[in-house]
Homo-oligomer: 304 residues x 4
């Protein structure tokens, strides 16, 4: 067995020495004020090993990482019907997402870009009794941790600045690909993005995807095939315009968030979560990407 | 002098005999329920002649025809500054307007497409004290007729179905090309579109454009250069994707609305307004287009 | 009657004083080496007046001005069938013409953009016995002047650098909108663009468009309706991305070429041609645009 | 150890029973005339096992499968410099590739779409002494088999119908992303696509990618990192608009060709090649996709 602890310590040490830390997201004050020196990493393996270094136990805004959990809940609720309303292919360039949506008649390319996640939110809104409460409880259950919350300030700020999301949602609505009112869907969507978790909690919550759909307490949340479907989407669509680069550099399915978090996993082996708020030019955590690249290089554990 | 009366009577007789009447707009109930057999035409010349036939005195929803009057008011208020926020070029294909807006960084191609008119609404909202009241009074003044009103049912229906307009407005907002809140701008915009006027009232209201900016009561509302600017925009951008066809078939600057109205004019000569609710495939009044084509052919009065 | 001579002399004097002259096209050496101080203007009216100032009698590369004459010949040959293969609407932004062509399944937006003119060349190639010879003779006939020639150096240079045109032609071919081999069509197209004429010759050649299809020697080359169709297209599509601006500033249908020439006309009144090699940012002759704007302002002869 | 033989036999039996076989490509006669009943599959593992069933020893047109080998040769020749001229990200929708190329200034999204492969051909043309001969020898060397040839008829047919490729190449040239003449680059490109190989030969030729760059005779053709780079690109970009679907259904990096071949591999484990000429709607071999899906399901050998 590998000395994961030593490897993670080494990665942490390198990260602390890094000069270039990227740029913290600044479109809402709650993200802009996060200290760029934060760096956390947490690993959980299928065979029970667990270890965290640095700020692995500090909460941060998970942002788009929530898209994977929302998709998972939607699949649990309505199964394959999800794919009638959203595709599973990479989206290409990110700068003209509305154009793409317009050309493709309101069917988002995949559930991990904003327009796709908005459709997923619409599905959840229809099928959950108390959408916000139920979804939060779902995340808590996955992570086996009741101490996970929405950050209402963040949700409110997202709402006040999220004009592109309003544009996308209204375009979806014009193509009849939203059932619920735009405001309700986006309110729920912004709440999902505002969830705050630690690296540790994220590793725990994503454990079920490496474990054929069964969470830490061994409850089945998805079938093995459904978990595999989500992992395949993370692999091809999880990193915006950097999916190809990430597949090569890191070689793991994963998902990043603008709050600086990245979760990645090797099916049947482990989940690993990093947090460093500074982003590279493509909007993914700079040091997080480097840490994951180091991890797969040193452990030789990747899909390749 | 030509026998305009005889020519208009002839055109009216032809229109009543027409088998193909196009398709009445059906996206909101208020438009869908309009009787397709309505046909009105009204002419007013600069030298004082005036004549109407058919339903020229029946009110209908002026819809996009309002965009010209909104533009005119905006130019009266802030002059050339309008062009810092909207361009004056034709927009090409209509089916990907959001894509175009996205590529061109939130600057609409011209003030007569929806996104451009939304920016104009934002300008008016900023510079008018009581926007809805003031704008309605402006139209009444231009037409020398106090009996012009918003149709609040229409405004409400537009609001409930206007998702593409919400998408456009939010996209504009994301590019910082809207100052006021999206909802306020669109509420005002939908009210403008809901104005109801007769052919006669429209001819009267647009008279100032053929008359170097001076309305029927000889009040100056624009400079001659400003009126010319608006006429040039009507010529190149007034008919969505049929601008080229209209320039050829009719040879007049004009503007159509989805309610079936068309206003056209020859500078220094006349204004003519037609109304027939059935639309052709490109969204312009079918019989209205034909009537105007007949008019310029018979009178030989066109820009050519 | 106006003192056209005095007005043209004045315009010429102003042009010679101008500090800003724009930038001479440099993508082929033959254009790059033209002296930017050239300025010519020539007017011909329907009632027989004619006057030229400056370099109005110097030949220059007519470039895209040839597109109007090619269209005219195609209409003379096959009439309305032209419109089965090319549309008559403005093209919107010029920077993504291939994208537009791709989306619109190989039907160019109008015959005055490159892809449209390539389709027109294909039509001519099919219907002319000796395409290059016949087309040149057509232009000579229109201008009543046998001394008009292709510049073979220019045609060759265009061919060696015209990769975007090759891309467009091949795309048209892939959509089955070219009958003849790509190389043959482009060879003919580049020859057309390479024609050299003086302002005087251009005014003479375009005379038939202001004269209901009848050229200087009163030979009918088009019907009145066909001439009107071409004029309508010049009005809405003649100036790339500056059609709206030109319609306002100048108020005449016209066509510009990258060689610095502009021809404009008022139906039933006059043709006017300017030449100044420096271009503005949108690719139209800077001083030529200004000269035409002055002309319509001073003479009050425009479509408005 | 698994009973691969039994599994492949089973897959073969299922394929022979299949009613739906997809549609054979028909844009050139040489492909159109291939018998749709052909079905071959061949497996080679890193530890020396090898087995083929059906028409695994019949040659077919490898088409786009050649793009991977061309990329590999380019990386062997100039290393990371390749990425200055082509990106490594998925391309999204395939129907507007020229639009994408235009918007992204002539940098193809990845080397496995046509425009990207054309750039790679240009690189090879510059760096190989006798490009066609050298490249063929490279493929022969990789496969340890001198009996591999271009099909000159196919190359000629591709040339005569490949207008979209000519359009792409000329567009690349207009952006200065082709060094050599368009015709030379495409001639070489069409030759590459015309190579004919058997499933067995393809498995052998691609062996080096699963084996850290070392071919069957243990010659190093790429570094381990370079092989990994190519595998990552196959994973995210190998199946046009079906990359996401393939990642999920099959879970292997791979590449398909319009001739009906698919090669897929699991790093450090095996290469598998299928051939069935009928294509699904997205242009990938219908039965080949199904066979690979069965293979990874039955063997549980995938990247997940």
């Amino acid at each position: 067995m590998q000395n994961f602890k030593a490897i993670l310590d080494e990665i942490y040490a390198d990260a602390k020495r890094a000069k270039e830390k990227g740029t913290v997201a600044s479109y809402i004050p709650e993200l802009a004020h996060v200290d760029e020196n934060n760096f956390g990493i947490h690993l959980r393996t299928l065979d029970g090993f667990e270890y965290g270094v640095g700020n692995f136990d500090t909460i941060f805004s998970i942002q788009s990482i929530s898209k994977v959990l929302a998709l998972s809940k939607a699949m649990a609720l309505i199964g394959e019907s999800v794919w009638e309303r959203v595709d599973v292919e990479p989206s290409g360039s990110p700068f003209n997402q509305l154009a793409l949506l317009e050309i493709e008649n309101g069917i988002p390319r995949n559930p991990l870009i904003n327009s796709g996640a908005i459709v997923i939110s619409d599905i959840l809104l229809t099928h959950l009794k108390n959408p916000k409460e139920d979804f939060l409880n779902y995340v808590r259950e996955l992570a086996s941790d009741p101490n996970i919350y929405y950050n209402l300030e963040v949700a409110r700020s997202e709402k006040n600045t999220g004009f592109k999301n309003y544009a996308a949602a209204n375009l979806l609505k014009s193509f009849n690909n939203l059932v619920n009112p735009v405001d309700d869907v986006l309110d729920f969507y912004f709440h999902q993005c505002s969830i705050e978790m630690t690296c540790n909690q994220i590793s725990d919550a994503f454990f079920f995807l490496t474990n054929k759909g069964n969470c830490l307490t061994n409850t089945a949340h998805l079938t093995g095939a459904q978990a595999k479907r989500i992992i395949a989407i993370m692999l091809t669509c999880g990193f915006y315009d950097e999916a190809g680069e990430f597949a090569f550099e890191v070689g793991l399915p994963g998902k990043s968030g603008v709050g600086g978090g990245i979760v990645a996993l090797l099916p049947n082996h482990f989940v690993i979560t990093t947090w460093s708020p500074g982003l590279n030019k493509k909007g993914n955590s700079l040091l997080g990407m480097q840490a994951l690249e180091q991890f797969t290089t040193k452990t030789k554990l990747s899909i390749f």
